[in-house]
């Protein structure tokens, strides 16, 4: 053991010396070429495809901007003022809130329940089930939205047939948003299953063993031990879902086109609608900027959460392993 470690440290010393030596020598031309080209191309694409467009969008949000008749007139903060007085915007905001809360709750609860069931020693065919639950997540969203439009069809749709209902899901103001929420949960819960499972497997076994030795019931173990340990993962899923659902619009575009009335208007769909149906580019840019600010705040929060989500299990795994070595 000691011989091995000393040999290893000697080797490490050697490579450290070598790498110091190579670093002192001028970097080879091929390295400089590769590095400069790569950094140059990345910077150019950042500037051309992101920075300049964001600048244009920011300036455009203070203009009456219509690409069809070429209008681009400065109007100050009119777009923002109009936005806050627009009932559709407030309806879209409250719809986005309801949609987000329900979809996140469904995704998290279903994801957690199923991940815990798969984690349990009682479950069989784990790989098979994991494959099945993750399936909708990797299917193309436009096609899935079409599939669900057919599922909700009042004449022949599988949902009414299966449950013996007579509901016109997508054309009834009471159900249209709920219908989109259900489809979104179905599409997305599998991702939460995979993440929660990863979180569960990161919990060291001796913690769970200790709980069972102490005679804790399954429910108490879950509530007082597992759930607190999963909390960072839970926050991570909630915040990334929030960001994702703030940008959701394809399911609305395909399934209801914002209707009936304004019952399924979401903020991102409203941007699409204002920009590429009504061609109010300035107005759409103003909404987009507000959305960008909300998303930036949530992302900043999510990175912080993610950091702690990572640190916690890693630290635990590390102490777990070092314990194994000493024993």
């Amino acid at each position: 053991m000691t011989i091995q470690t000393s040999a290893r440290s000697a080797r490490q010393g050697e490579t450290a010396r070598v790498s110091q030596a190579t670093r002192r020598i001028k970097k080879p031309a091929s390295e400089l070429w590769l590095r400069n080209t790569t950094v140059g191309v990345i910077m150019a694409s950042l500037v051309l495809l992101l920075l300049i467009p964001i600048g244009i969008a920011f300036v455009g949000s203070f203009h009456d901007w219509n690409p069809l008749n070429g209008r681009f007139d400065f109007t100050g903060i009119d777009n923002y003022a109009e936005l806050f007085a627009d009932p559709t915007f407030w309806r879209a905001s409250s719809n986005t809130l309801v949609f987000g809360i329900l979809a996140i709750a469904g995704r998290v609860l279903l994801g957690l329940a199923i991940a815990y069931a798969l984690f349990s020693k009682l479950s069989r065919w784990r790989t098979f089930f994991r494959t099945i639950f993750y399936l909708p997540t990797v299917m193309p969203l436009v096609a899935v939205a079409f599939l669900w439009t057919l599922m909700y069809n009042p004449q022949f749709g599988a949902i009414n047939t299966l449950f013996g209902l007579d509901v016109n899901w997508l054309f009834d103001q009471r159900f249209s948003l709920l219908a989109i929420v259900i489809m979104t949960i179905w599409k997305d819960f599998g991702f939460a299953v995979i993440l929660f499972l990863a979180g569960l497997y990161a919990i060291p076994e001796d913690v769970l063993e200790a709980a069972s030795v102490d005679g804790a019931s399954a429910w108490r173990t879950f509530w007082h031990i597992i759930l607190p340990l999963l909390r960072p993962m839970l926050f991570f899923i909630v915040i990334t879902s929030m960001i994702g659902y703030l940008q959701a619009f394809v399911q609305v575009l395909v399934m209801t086109n914002g209707g009936p009335g304004t019952s399924t208007q979401l903020i991102s769909f409203m941007i699409y609608d204002q920009a590429f149906v009504k061609y109010n580019f300035g107005y759409a840019s103003a909404i987009a900027f507000i959305l960008l600010i909300i998303t930036a705040l949530l992302t900043a929060a999510s990175w912080r959460m993610n950091q702690s989500a990572l640190d916690a299990p890693r630290r635990r795994r590390f102490t777990h392993r070092s314990k194994e070595k000493t024993s």
Partner: protein, 271 residues
């Protein structure tokens, strides 16, 4: 104990059934005639199997053309962007230079920029320089992927520097080190990224819808909405077209499901 095992697995099976049922229903309905789909007496299996829906969507909108356009674009963009991500990841993981940390932070922060802010100016720019209705307009914005560079850097960080230094001492060029040593060691990250990238191009709707105007260049995701706009009551055709858009991804997923799932967990966990 036995009862609990049964209850738990029955519950899982039920949710699994809810997940796969729409797919089976869609595929089977694609083989039903329109009159059977609309009949009062619904059945899960087609009473009479027919291919007429596939024939009709083909004659109405040339769906196989759209299908191959989507395959072409997805494969091209995936190949290009995975390669640029590899190079970018390599440079950020293995070279030290001034401003590396700052530039990488900027690349990371671009991932949170919403599509809605960028798409209007991009549309205006691409129109004014006359790039519309060409595949260049679809490919150019997708070639460099912040997510890809990030993912590759994370994976290449794990490759020990000693291997590279040893190769350099043996006289290997950086080009050789990248292509023959580092890239082959990143196979897992490459396959995970390829799968995601392929899916993102395959399901992208808005950008091709805005850029591509000629029918023979259109992609499948947009073709679906065009088809519904023109033949809204041809439900059999809709089932067949949707099946055509989903089943290839389904097959790829079943073949590579292990990598898909590992990729999903790592993409989220490595943040």
């Amino acid at each position: 104990m036995k009862v609990r095992v049964f209850a738990l697995n029955a519950g899982l099976l039920l949710v699994g059934g809810i997940v796969v049922l729409p797919f089976f229903w869609m595929i089977l309905s694609a083989f039903k005639s329109n009159s059977e789909i609309l009949s009062f007496d619904q059945s899960f299996l087609p009473r009479e199997w027919t291919l007429e829906n596939f024939v009709s969507i083909q004659t109405k909108l040339d769906f196989f053309r759209l299908f191959f356009n989507s395959v072409f674009l997805s494969v091209t963009i995936t190949a290009l962007s995975v390669y640029t991500s590899l190079v970018g990841g390599f440079v950020f993981a293995k070279y030290t230079f001034r401003g590396r940390g700052a530039l990488f932070a900027v690349i990371l922060s671009t991932m949170m920029i919403t599509w809605a802010v960028v798409i209007i100016p991009r549309y205006t720019i691409f129109r004014s320089i006359g790039l519309t209705d060409s595949y260049a307009s679809i490919i150019i914005p997708a070639v460099i992927s912040a997510f890809g560079i990030f993912m590759m850097r994370q994976s290449m960080d794990a490759i020990p520097d000693e291997i590279l230094e040893a190769a350099r001492i043996d006289g290997a060029s950086e080009w050789f080190i990248f292509h023959r040593i580092v890239a082959p060691m990143s196979v897992n990250a490459i396959s995970a990224l390829s799968i995601f990238q392929f899916l993102w191009v395959w399901e992208d709707y808005l950008w091709p819808y805005l850029m591509i105007s000629s029918e023979e260049k259109q992609v499948l995701a947009v073709g679906l909405t065009t088809f519904r706009g023109q033949y809204g009551t041809d439900y059999g055709g809709l089932f067949a077209a949707t099946t055509l858009a989903i089943v290839p991804v389904l097959v790829v997923y079943i073949l590579f499901q292990r990598r898909f799932i590992a990729g999903a967990a790592s993409a989220a966990l490595k943040g």
